[in-house]
Symmetry: C2
Subunit: 166 residues, 2 copies
DNA sequence: AGGTTCATGTAACCCGTTACATGATTTC
DNA sequence: GAAATCATGTAACGGGTTACATGAACCT
């Protein structure tokens, strides 16, 4: 893909919620190129308008799998759920279903460990909190509960898929 | 509060998921002070250890309410839900219940407008997507649905609360 | 001919992370 | 007296935002 292609993807799908600003994309591509994680070639064409197409190198693929394999931390759950979902979206293609299930189990375990803390905090502080603060906290708790349900049902889905393969 | 007090709050409650790093907090307080949104005074004490306590100025309070009053955009929903929750947590104390309900209605409206787009995307692209990608998208959709339910039930709660007051 | 889209880039600015530094006070 | 905690700060680095710039090709 070219930088412009990426811009269009980020601007239209908005899924990973990446920035579609050229000031983010082009410098990022150049950094990746300097680190040899991607390589860009000027597309040959009859026209004068140049278009630089990038592809992932073997080193880049290795870095990607390294990122995907990082253990799930409590901090990932609290502050970087978006990153976890992004890793997940790449995962079964790059690491296979078995490893993906392990990843989902890690997520479920971290959420299951964190939830009681939040509930404990709510239980002890609900009285002194203003309504909006309490609701904001409940919003968070319900979000984590939804995520936990999602992780568990996804694990089941993968296991069914795995059984089908055999 | 002093910078150190803030650090402790951010390190222990982790709710707004602010950074508790001194490299974030102290420069931020100095910036706010330079813009006269907070004012700091060295706490007088018999000890030599200094402790600088900050309080919000009237200009700071005005800036806060200005921030709280900003309209809810689609982009807020997609990329800055955390910010919206933070605003909400401050809101009824600073703007009152009626304005808070309006805020919740804006959030609900934006989510209700965005959800069909996501579902449409899923419906048309589900076939070509890998299982993990599809599930990641479903994760997002379920999250927004949970948020919409939360907003609606919170609105009801506030309206009941308002009726009690009268 | 003029506006839109394709396509890539740069520069100023802001700000968070990481890591280090400094000194006072309390605790064991 | 050593370790932990209180308390504040700075500097290098990375990277995103905003805004601007440039030019080709396409469409009407």
């Amino acid at each position: 893909m070219s930088g412009y292609d990426l811009r269009k993807v980020f601007a239209t799908t908005a899924m990973g919620s990446f920035s579609d600003s050229p000031g983010a994309i082009y410098p990022a591509l150049h950094r990746l190129e300097k680190r040899e994680l991607v390589s860009g070639t000027d597309e040959e064409s009859s026209s004068l308008r140049r278009r630089r197409v990038f592809s992932v190198t073997t080193a880049g693929l290795k870095a990607l799998t390294g990122w995907l394999e990082r253990p799930v931390t409590r901090d990932d759950i609290i502050r970087r759920m978006n990153d976890l979902m992004l890793r997940f979206a790449f995962m079964d293609g790059a690491l296979g279903m078995e490893r993906t299930v392990r990843f989902l189990n890690e997520i479920a375990a971290e959420i299951a460990a964190y939830l009681p803390e939040l509930k404990q905090y709510l239980a002890t502080h609900a009285e002194e909190m203003p309504l909006s603060g309490r609701l904001a906290l409940e919003f968070g708790i319900e979000g984590y509960e939804a995520q936990l349900r999602w992780a568990k049902s996804s694990i089941v889905l993968y296991q069914e898929e795995e059984r089908k393969r055999k």
